[in-house]
C-alpha cells in the first residue's frame, strides 16, 4: 500500500494539515485507491506546510504546500507514484535546505510517526538507553560531560556537571524534571520534539534517571501546548506498556516513572526554581540559590532540571558516543543547536546546525531574507530577554562565548527577524511591559522597575521632538537597567536590560539619539 505522509505538528495543523489529510483520504476513497495515511512530524520547513510526502521506490517525494484544493489535481498527476506537478519538490532528502543541516537531536523529526514506538525503534530509538544500561551511573554522567553538552534552555550550564552533583547526593528520592515551559517567543524546538518525536525525550529522561539514581520524572509542560500534552501522554503510555518506563526497565532492576504536569501560563515558571515551586503547588516565585536544585530541588530532594532539547540530545550521545557529539561545534560550544527561524523571514523553520554558523547564513541562506522583501533591520536572538542585533553584527558566529562578547545571548536558539518598519523604541517599551506582566514580584527592581521602565520609554518617545529632558530620561533608563541587571535574582529582571539597552545602543535614532554604537554597551556590561 502506498504510504502518504501529512504532518501532525501543530504548526502544520495551524496551516490546515488536517484538512489536507482529510481531502487526500476522501479523494483516494473516491477513486478506489488504497493508501496508508501516516501523520508524521514536521520536517521543519514551515513556509511549505502542509508538506506532503509519498513513499516511492526512489525515496520520499515531497509535494508542498498542499491545500485541499490541490488534492484532485495531485491525484490526476499520479502523485502517488511521484508524478509531475507544480507542487512537486523532488525527493525530500535532496532538498538543499535539509541537506545543509546537521540533524542530531532532530534526526527522526519529520521522518517518523511520533507515537509509533515501532517506528522509533526502527530509526535507532532506544539505542542510547541500551548502551546506558551497560554502564554505571558515574560512567553515563562522564559520557554526557565529555560530550560537552550545555543546557539548551538558555543558561548553557554543562549538563554533565549538573548531573554529577545530583549523582553525588545521598537521598532516598531524587527527581528528573524536564523544563518544557518553552515561553520564549521565537522558539518552538521543544514543542517540535514533544509533538514530533516524544520518545526521544522520554528516553533521555530515562537515561538521566538511571545515571543519577532518580526514579521519578516530571515534564513541566506549558499550558499553551495542548497537542504536545496529548502526544506525550500517548507516548508515555506506550513506553510503559513496552517496558521502557516503570519498574524493571528493559528487564533490569531500574525503575523510572514519568508524568506530565501542566503549567498555567506564567512565563516566570521557565526559571528552574519558580518551576519547582509551581510543581509543588505554589505561586511560581523564584527561590534563592543556594541551595542549588541539584542538592535541594523538588520537594527538597536532589533534582536534575534540564530543558527538553538537552534531555532529547542525551540518547544520541549515549548511542554514538561523547566524541561523536563533541566533534561538532566550535570553542566551548560543542555539538549542534536546533535554531528556530521566526518572524519576518521568507523561509521560517527549524535548522539544526553545529555551532559556528553565522547569523547572516541563517538569515539569508536558510531564511531567504525578509518575508516582506524589505531590508532586515533588527534581529532578536534568544527570546524576549535577548539582545536586538543590527546588521553590523550579523557575522557573529553562533557560539555562546562569541555572543556574550557582543553583549548578546544565544538563549534557546530562537531568531526573530524584523524588517525596516520596526520601531525599536516600541520594542524596548514592549520588553519592559512584558517584564511587568510576567514578573513574579519577588525582586523590587524587576517588579517596580519594569513598570517605571515603560513610563520612561513613553516620556522619551514623547520628548523625541521637543528634546525636553531627553538626555536625562535616556540616562534614567540606563540607570534603571543597571539596577535591574545587578539587583534581580533571576534572568527575567536581570536580562530585560538586554533588549532595552541593545535597542537604544544600536538603534538610537528611534529614540531621538545619534547612534553611539558599542561603547555604551561595554560600559553597562562592565
Amino acid at each position: 500500500m502506498i504510504k502518504v505522509y501529512v504532518p501532525r505538528d501543530s504548526s502544520a495543523l495551524s496551516l490546515g494539515a488536517d484538512r489536507t489529510a482529510k481531502a487526500i483520504a476522501a479523494e483516494a476513497a473516491k477513486r478506489g485507491i488504497k493508501i496508508e495515511l501516516i501523520r508524521n512530524g514536521s520536517r521543519g520547513l514551515f513556509w511549505l506546510e502542509p508538506f506532503v510526502e509519498i513513499e516511492t521506490a526512489k525515496g520520499r517525494m515531497a509535494y508542498a504546500p498542499v491545500q485541499p484544493k490541490d488534492v484532485a489535481s495531485l491525484f490526476d498527476a499520479d502523485f502517488l507514484h511521484g508524478g509531475t506537478h507544480t507542487l512537486n519538490l523532488g525527493l525530500t532528502e535532496n532538498i538543499e535546505w535539509l541537506k545543509k543541516q546537521q540533524r542530531l537531536t532532530f534526526a527522526r523529526v519529520g521522518i517518523t510517526d511520533p507515537v509509533s514506538l515501532d517506528d522509533y525503534l526502527a530509526h535507532d530509538g532506544y539505542k542510547g538507553l541500551k548502551n546506558a544500561l551497560k554502564l554505571t551511573g558515574a560512567e553515563i554522567v562522564k559520557v554526557v560531560t565529555d560530550s560537552g553538552l550545555r543546557g539548551r534552555g538558555g543558561a548553557a550550564f554543562p549538563t554533565g556537571i549538573k548531573w554529577n552533583t545530583v549523582l553525588g547526593c545521598k537521598s532516598e528520592q531524587k527527581y528528573i524534571v524536564c523544563n518544557a515551559d518553552e515561553g520564549d517567543s521565537g522558539t518552538y524546538s521543544d514543542r517540535m520534539i514533544m509533538e514530533d518525536d516524544p520518545f526521544v525525550l522520554i528516553e533521555g529522561m530515562t537515561i538521566a534517571g538511571i545515571a543519577v539514581g532518580a526514579t521519578q520524572g516530571y515534564i513541566y509542560l506549558r499550558s499553551e501546548y495542548p497537542h504536545a500534552l496529548k502526544t506525550l501522554n500517548e507516548a508515555i503510555m506506550k513506553a510503559e506498556k513496552a517496558g521502557y518506563l516503570g519498574e524493571k526497565i528493559c528487564g533490569t532492576t531500574h525503575t523510572f516513572k514519568l508524568e506530565v504536569r501542566r503549567a498555567a501560563g506564567a512565563y516566570i515558571c521557565g526559571e528552574e526554581t519558580s518551576l519547582l515551586e509551581s510543581l509543588e503547588g505554589r505561586r511560581g516565585q523564584v527561590r534563592f540559590k543556594p541551595p542549588l536544585p541539584a542538592i535541594e530541588g523538588l520537594f527538597g530532594k536532589p533534582t536534575v532540571v534540564n530543558n527538553v532539547i538537552s534531555l532529547a540530545t542525551v540518547p544520541i550521545i549515549l548511542d554514538k558516543g561523547a566524541q561523536f557529539y563533541a566533534d561538532y561545534g566550535i570553542g566551548r560550544s560543542r555539538g549542534t543547536l536546533p535554531i528556530q527561524l521566526a518572524g519576518n523571514l521568507k523561509q521560517t523553520g527549524l535548522v539544526e546546525l553545529a555551532f559556528g554558523a553565522t547569523l547572516r547564513e541563517l538569515l539569508y541562506d536558510f531564511g531567504g531574507g525578509s518575508a516582506t522583501g524589505k531590508p532586515i533591520r533588527a534581529v532578536q536572538v534568544g527570546g524576549p530577554l535577548g539582545a536586538f542585533l543590527p546588521e553590523s553584527q550579523f557575522d557573529t558566529p553562533l557560539d555562546y562565548e562569541e555572543f556574550s562578547k557582543i553583549w548578546a545571548v544565544l538563549g534557546h536558539g530562537g531568531i526573530v527577524v524584523f524588517d525596516d518598519t520596526v520601531d525599536m523604541a516600541k520594542m524596548a517599551r514592549y520588553a519592559f511591559e512584558f517584564c511587568a506582566i510576567e514578573s513574579c514580584g519577588k525582586c523590587t527592581p524587576c517588579r517596580i522597575g519594569s513598570t517605571r521602565g515603560v513610563e520612561v520609554i513613553d516620556k522619551i518617545t514623547a520628548s523625541k521632538a521637543s528634546g525636553k529632558d531627553h538626555e536625562k530620561n535616556i540616562q534614567l533608563v540606563r540607570d534603571l537597567s543597571d539596577t535591574m541587571f545587578n539587583g534581580s535574582l533571576c534572568a527575567l529582571g536581570g536580562m530585560t536590560p538586554y533588549p532595552v539597552l541593545s535597542a537604544i545602543n544600536h538603534f538610537g535614532e528611534d529614540f531621538g539619539l545619534e547612534n553611539k554604537g558599542l561603547e555604551k554597551i561595554k560600559e553597562v556590561a562592565a
Binding site: 496551516l15 517567543s185 503547588g281 527549524l350 513574579c440
Partner: protein, 159 residues
Amino acid sequence: MAIALSEQQLTKIRAHIEAHKTMPGALLPLLHAIQDDIGWISEEVYLPISKALALSVAELHGVVTFYHHFRRHPAGKHVLQICRAESCQAMGSEKLEAHIKSTLGIDYHETTKDGAITLEPIYCLGNCACSPAVMMGDEVYGRMDATKVAELISEARVT
C-alpha cells in the same frame, strides 16, 4: 456579582478533590481539572480544597491569581487568544489585534455580548514560524489576517 455553582458542579468538584488529594504537588493538577470541567475557578472551591490539601484560603487565592491560565469568572463559549509576542509583532500582529478588538467591540479579558467569544492576549504559542498566530479553544492558527480571523469567528459563532 458572584455566580453560585450548581449542586451538580459541586459534586464534580468534590470528585476532583478526592481524586487529587494524595498526589504530590496536587494543587495545579487539581485546579486544571476543575477549570477543564467547569470552565473557571470559583472562590466557592477554596474551602473544600483548603481542607483537603491543608492549605489556607489565602494561599489558594494566591496561587489562583498568580497564573494567567486560571480564570476567576466564566468565559464565553469560545476563547480567542491573540499572540502579542515579538515574532507575531514582526508580522503585523498589532494591526490584527486592533482590528479584532474593534470588530468584536471588546478589549482583552472581555466577552462579546452574545457570550460567544472571550478575547485574551497570549505571549507565544510556539507557532512563531507561522506568525501572526492565534488560538481558538485548543487549536492554533497561523499566518492569520483580518479575513481569516473573521472566518474563524463566524465559524465559532455557529458551533
